[in-house]
């Protein structure tokens, strides 16, 4: 325990942790009547859980040196398709599998093209972002564009049901987080992700199956994005045309805030969770201050530019110290 605490204190994420705590305190004290109520906590849980699940997939990709911009579209598409098959009378469990299968499929396409085609991950996933968003629009055409309502109770339990006073989706998120944190920290397969991220070529030369790992991590990212989509759809009880729009950037920002780097080889799963909480709190602050969503985009843009510049600056500094430049 003490070791973990020391380790946390040494990381650069400590700034984010401190800001998060300060923001939380200010919100609790300054706006106690609006913020510190059960409803806010419940809505925070519901807004954090899907994003944190997507962030797990993203941080694993970032650790191994790539990223995935299609997660928002995959989330929206899997939600829409799950709602569609449910409305055609498919039972809950097969419907969930269909939704998750969509994510796996997209992840496979991304991963295959990046790993075995050697194609730039950014452009591939931008392409699948467009395809996914286009398919969402194609699935929810005409009357369906206002949302496909879901009446299947056993499906709605996933997102709306509670166990021990906490949303089921939050429990699912916790399981995913803990599993991912354990795997990346303690197992050799997880540690290999860091090797791949730090030096792809060296990792390949020492015999790590880099291409297969790439493929699997992209599939995991797609799978988790789809899971988030299914959970969010279950939570709202209706599919939405706008589920997951611009989500990919928020997730990448969360991961970068949590200590990951675009250059790869850094970051930890708990850090990405911290980043997600940080962004969720910022959005709460916006909402309490009644700042319009357009301004939220502006601020997200500023944060992204700032974080990416800082990240690049730190990477350059490290490389200079190592004499690589």
């Amino acid at each position: 325990m003490k070791q973990i605490l020391l380790r946390i204190l040494k990381t650069k994420e400590i700034v984010v942790i401190v800001i998060t705590i300060i923001m939380f305190l200010i919100l609790s004290i300054g706006a106690s009547s609006t913020f510190l109520t059960i409803i806010t906590f419940e809505s925070l849980q519901a807004s954090i859980a899907p994003n944190a699940i997507v962030a797990v997939g993203m941080i694993i990709l970032l650790i191994s040196g790539v990223f995935d911009l299609s997660v928002g579209s995959v989330m929206g598409l899997s939600g829409a398709i799950t709602a569609l098959v449910l409305s055609h009378g498919l039972p809950a469990i097969p419907a969930v599998f269909v939704g998750l299968g969509v994510g796996l499929g997209f992840g496979f396409i991304n991963g295959f093209l990046v790993a075995f085609g050697g194609v730039n991950p950014l452009i591939v996933t931008i392409g699948t972002l467009y395809i996914g968003r286009g398919l969402v629009n194609a699935v929810m055409r005409g009357e369906l564009r206002y949302g496909i309502p879901i009446k299947n109770q056993s499906f709605l339990v996933l997102g709306q049901g509670m166990t021990l006073g906490i949303y089921n989706m939050f429990w699912i998120m916790l399981v995913v987080l803990i599993l991912a944190q354990f795997i990346t920290l303690k197992t050799s397969r997880g540690r290999r992700l860091y090797f791949i991220g730090s030096n792809y070529e060296a990792a390949r030369l020492v015999g790590i199956k880099v291409k297969r790992t790439r493929l699997l991590t992209f599939m995991l990212s797609g799978f988790l994005a789809a899971m988030a989509g299914v959970l969010a759809t279950s939570r709202f009880g209706i599919s939405s045309l706008y589920l997951g729009v611009n989500l990919e950037l928020k997730i990448i920002i969360s991961c970068l805030l949590g200590g990951a780097s675009i250059a790869g080889g850094q970051g930890w799963v708990a850090g990405s969770f911290l980043g997600v909480i940080f962004l969720a709190l910022i959005v709460s602050v916006f909402n309490i201050l009644e700042i319009s969503p357009y301004w939220q985009n502006i601020i997200v843009g500023i944060i992204l530019v700032f974080i990416v510049s800082l990240d690049a600056y730190l990477v350059t500094k490290r490389k200079k110290a190592l004499g690589e430049i």
Partner: protein, 324 residues
């Protein structure tokens, strides 16, 4: 075979068809649509396609120049939207004369390019990520401005820019041909434009040979934003009113077009004429979808698929350069 025939055969074998594939594909697509859809090869349709192209060609110039150097700017779509609305704001709300408004607007967009370039050059940040940040920032700012202006129609003089005609043809079409041909000539022949290719081929050796890489990159980022601003002013002038989601996804369309035209994300390749043909091909494909009465919701799917196919081919050709 006769002697002349075998000579032609040899000559044909020496021609690198990969180099001309974009022209061939464009011509085939054009002929295909002309033959199968009678509404396609009408003067009005082709004219409106070329007119649309003459609004967007300014964007493809910036993207191509950046891609030649191995950089990219994703913020052009947002800058495009921002410039149109911002000029509208200056003219309509603050009642500043049109010329002055345009100058102010281009200065501001130039400043955007300055910031992009500064961050990329100075911090060696990934230009894709940086410009995603400025993209989302200016999308937000544009939404704020539109929300403030509401759905207005721009003043007449602003709307008149895009409709200015010479010999009954919109001046932007002349502008397109002149600028593209001049730039292509310079890129092939002029030493200071050739430097872009050297930088894209190998930044380090370009630096060692005394090319001021950072300064050139910075300049091109500024040029890209300013041309995007000009295109945005023309586009807004054409539509005549504030429109939500103007220029959304334009940056990906441009990158797809440039890559179709032989530019590469790895740098060192590209030509503005071919990029323009790439854009024309994409325009034809989208127009063809409408001609075949395909639901517009599929547009994104098609653009995404074409983008992925183009990039896969690009990677196969430039394979040895980089592994992800």
């Amino acid at each position: 075979m006769t002697e002349a025939g075998s000579k032609i055969g040899k000559g044909l074998r020496n021609v690198n068809f990969g180099q001309y594939s974009i022209y061939i594909v464009t011509v085939i697509a054009f002929l295909f649509l002309s033959l199968t859809r009678e509404n396609f090869f009408r003067y009005t349709n082709v004219y409106s396609l070329v007119f649309g192209l003459s609004m967007e060609f300014l964007l493809i110039i910036g993207i191509t120049l950046l891609l030649i150097m191995g950089e990219v700017d994703l913020s052009i779509g947002s800058v495009y939207a921002f410039a149109g609305v911002f000029t509208g704001l200056l003219v309509y709300e603050l009642e500043i004369p049109l010329i002055v408004s345009i100058v102010i607007c281009l200065t501001v967009t130039g400043a955007i390019g300055f910031v992009n370039g500064f961050l990329v050059v100075r911090f060696r940040a990934n230009s894709l990520m940086i410009t995603i940040g400025t993209m989302i920032f200016f999308r937000g700012l544009t939404d704020v401005l539109i929300n403030f202006l509401k759905g207005i129609t721009y003043p007449y003089e602003y709307r008149a820019i895009a409709n200015f005609k010479i010999l009954n043809v919109n001046f932007t079409i002349f502008l397109m041909f002149i600028v593209i041909i001049a730039l292509e000539y310079l890129l092939i022949n002029h030493s200071s434009f050739k430097k872009l290719y050297y930088i894209g081929e190998n930044t380090l050796s370009a630096k060692l040979y005394g090319i001021r890489v950072d300064r050139i990159k910075h300049t091109i980022f500024i040029v890209t934003s300013m041309t995007a601003g000009m295109a945005g002013i023309l586009g807004a002038s054409r539509s005549g009113q504030t429109v939500w989601n103007t220029g959304q996804g334009l940056e990906f369309k441009m990158i797809t077009a440039a890559i179709l035209g032989g530019a590469s994300l790895f740098g060192g390749k590209g030509s503005v004429v071919k990029s323009l043909f790439g854009l024309f091909l994409l325009t034809i494909i989208l127009n063809g979808l409408i001609m075949y009465s395909v639901d517009p919701v599929w547009t994104d799917v098609v653009v995404g698929t074409v983008l992925i196919l183009a990039i896969v081919f690009d990677t196969r050709i430039n394979r040895e350069k980089l592994v992800y």
